[in-house]
């Protein structure tokens, strides 16, 4: 008696035949996946590698330690600020390495070009604080000027011709002599983290930008997270499901996709021109970024709330909890890991935004550390943007270093998101 349809033997051979092709397709697919990952990782390594390669040298700086004799004939006790300390220092340095100055003072000028103006300021500050120092010898330490540092880092080379080089042959010789004489030492470039932006690369640091970014992020978080979470909770748990809420939902989803520069324009028009919020302040930056982060926070919160099983809500309601109690005692705590992850990620995203902040004026040069929400400040991405456009060579390595700092910041925030999620993850 034959069975209806294909016999078992036929089926087996058919399946076996196809099996080879299917296995091959599976292997190919796995290969595609591996290739894709390799490509992505490759690009990542390439990018990061380039940046680190360009920027790591920023963290080493060359400092000059000099004995400065405060010549009373040059410094007026009654007006210490009037003296030209830079020249004084340059001339003494020349003497120390045994090079005579020429009558026009070009050599001392050239020497001045090697030493950071910071040294002069340090001396001035100390003299002002204690005028009795005049006539004594001070030991002062300050970084070398950017190009001098670049020579030691190998970026300014003797091999290039003198016209194209930033330093002259003589200057390079003096640097070697000072080094040999033990006046120059290398060390960790703490200035990078303790100072703000400056026109002189060797005195430039990211402190102001970090503080500005932090202030702004705090403001963004304080605005976007509560408003976003509460709005999402209302839309998800309390609002009636009708046409209006559908329209609101569609709009929120669209807002998340709006280019960030549009938010910058909004900030310019509304916050700066209409509400007269001070330009370039963490306040306006925070407001703009809060607007930007809001849709993302709302969407993340809504999906976390949706993921809470309805059985929990039913259990709470059946016990006689009101809607509000159900949401705030049970649903929201369970949705918290997702909410936090979404919030932190949207904040990390906001941290790296540049375009909208440029629109609200953060492109200006801000030398100091912002001390309040309304004082002028800059943020890390904008700082990077500014330095990238600067003409000095030394700013190139600093740009890369600032990018590394920004990336470190973002990695930290993402790590915080992952850890917090792990910590608060609950099984139901």
């Amino acid at each position: 008696m034959t069975e209806p349809g294909p016999s078992r033997e036929d089926l087996k051979t058919t399946v076996a035949r196809r099996l080879k092709a299917r296995n091959a397709a599976e292997r190919r697919f796995r290969l595609y996946g591996q290739v894709a990952i390799a490509l992505a990782l490759g690009f990542l390594v390439l990018l990061l590698g380039r940046i680190v390669q360009q920027g790591w040298s920023t963290f080493i700086d060359y400092r000059l330690t000099a004995q400065v004799y405060l010549d009373p004939s040059r410094i007026d006790r009654t007006d210490p600020g009037g003296a030209n300390y830079d020249l004084l220092i340059a001339q003494q340095l020349l003497k120390q390495i045994g090079v005579a100055d020429d009558e026009n003072g070009t050599r001392s000028d050239a020497m001045k070009d090697l030493v950071s103006g910071d040294m002069g300021f340090q001396v001035l500050d100390r003299v002002k604080a204690d005028p009795t120092l005049i006539g004594r010898t001070l030991t002062v330490s300050a970084p070398l000027k950017a190009n001098a540092g670049l020579y030691f880092k190998g970026q300014v080379k003797r091999s290039t011709s003198e016209e194209e080089r930033a330093l002259s042959d003589a200057q390079i010789d003096w640097l070697d002599q000072m080094r040999a004489g033990g006046l120059v030492a290398s060390g960790f470039n703490s200035t990078f983290f303790t100072r703000s932006d400056s026109t002189e690369p060797e005195q430039a640091g990211v402190l102001g930008a970090i503080v500005g970014s932090t202030l702004m992020l705090i403001l963004t978080a304080a605005l976007a997270i509560p408003i976003g979470v509460l709005a999402a909770t209302f839309l998800e748990e309390f609002a009636p499901k009708n046409r209006w809420t559908d329209i609101v939902e569609v709009n929120i989803n669209n807002l998340a996709a709006v280019p960030s520069i549009v938010y910058g324009l909004l900030g310019l028009a509304v916050f700066i021109n209409w509400m007269h919020v001070p330009r370039s302040s963490p306040l306006v930056g925070g407001l703009v970024l809060a607007l930007m982060a809001l849709p993302t926070v709302i969407i993340a919160t809504r999906s976390s709330l949706k993921a809470v099983p309805p059985s929990i809500r039913e259990a709470a309601l059946a016990l006689g909890a009101s809607r509000t109690q159900t949401v705030f005692h049970h649903v929201l705590p369970l949705a918290l890991p997702g909410v936090m992850t979404g919030s932190i990620l949207s904040l990390a995203h906001a941290l790296g935004e540049t375009a909208p902040l440029l629109m609200v004026g953060m492109v200006s040069f801000v030398p100091g550390v912002p001390d309040s929400l309304t004082s002028a400040s800059t943020v890390l991405p904008v700082q990077i943007f500014i330095w990238e456009n600067a003409s000095e060579r030394a700013f190139h390595e600093r740009t890369a270093a600032a990018i590394m700092v920004l990336l470190a910041f973002m990695i930290l925030m993402n790590l915080a998101a992952v850890l917090m999620r792990r910590r608060f993850e609950r099984r139901w």
Binding site: L317, A318, L319, G320, H329
Partner: protein, 264 residues
């Protein structure tokens, strides 16, 4: 109108819940057609019927859980001790403090065992001090037959218990607020036979104190556990009466066909 009253509840037992003309609509679809049912106090009433017959829908009318379903509309009166449950002015929160519910799949809160049981008394303000709350929790767990097993680990999460224990925890949670009525929607369908037997024993103990209404798709369970049974079919209440009568000599042929397995 109920089609057949095999036997009305005896006069000396008080009727706790009295439903008249209950109709439920989900949007345009009508799920319950004019249900009249009396539920006696201090007894277990079982609601049986094939899938989709409306027994769970009716159960959820009693504590207005159908309000949480968008598009659901309930008509008719359900009197709980004389008060109409469907009255728009009646706050469902107050109602649900008097009518507890146990669901099919155990759903303890992802909090500690103590917190699970204490939550209800806390939000209704039933215990004013920590020691009072401890007492309420202990009594509820004892009544639910769970105290011996968990008294030394009240700070463990409720979800760390086995299925049967979780269901008993949920029952403890429901009785901690001292309800008058306990509704159970297929409470044992997710449990193994031994856990089921424990819950049935618990129901037997609890019926001395509460009015219990249980929806079950196991006729054997309805027969074991209840004193009165109501058979629903396609949204109508076909027959109601003493359990012993319904399962030996049902009045309506539809009831007979269902309980003997002649149709689903």
């Amino acid at each position: 109108m109920t089609d057949v009253q095999s036997s009305p509840p005896p006069a000396e037992v008080a009727t706790r819940i009295s439903a008249r003309g209950v109709r439920v609509f989900y949007g345009d679809k009508q799920a319950l057609f004019d249900v009249d049912l009396d539920v006696p106090d201090r007894a277990v009433t079982a609601l049986i019927g094939p899938s989709g017959c409306g027994k769970s829908t009716f159960l959820r009318c009693i504590n207005r859980m159908n309000d949480t379903i968008p598009g659901a509309r309930v008509e008719g009166t359900i009197l709980l001790d004389g008060e109409d449950v469907n009255d728009r002015d009646l706050d469902p929160v107050l109602l649900r403090a008097r009518v507890g519910m146990v669901f099919q799949k155990p759903n303890p809160f992802p909090k500690t065992i103590f917190e699970n049981v204490a939550y209800g008394p806390r939000i209704h303000g039933l215990a004013t001090s920590k020691s009072e709350l401890d007492g309420v929790v202990e009594q509820a767990l004892k009544r639910a037959g769970l105290w011996k097993e968990v008294s030394d680990r009240l700070d463990q999460p409720g979800t760390s218990l086995s299925g049967g224990q979780q269901q008993r925890l949920v029952i403890a949670r429901a009785i901690a607020i001292n309800p008058e009525v306990i509704l159970m929607d297929e409470p044992c369908s997710a449990l193994d036979p031994i856990a089921t037997a424990r819950i049935e024993e618990l129901i037997d103990e609890l019926r001395a104190l509460y009015c219990i209404v249980i929806v079950t798709h196991s006729m054997a369970q309805a027969a074991r556990v209840s004193q009165r049974t109501a058979f629903f079919h396609m949204g109508k209440l076909v027959e109601t009466g003493l359990t012993s009568k319904i399962f030996t000599r049902p009045g309506d042929p539809r009831t007979q066909d269902y309980i003997t397995g002649r149709f689903g």
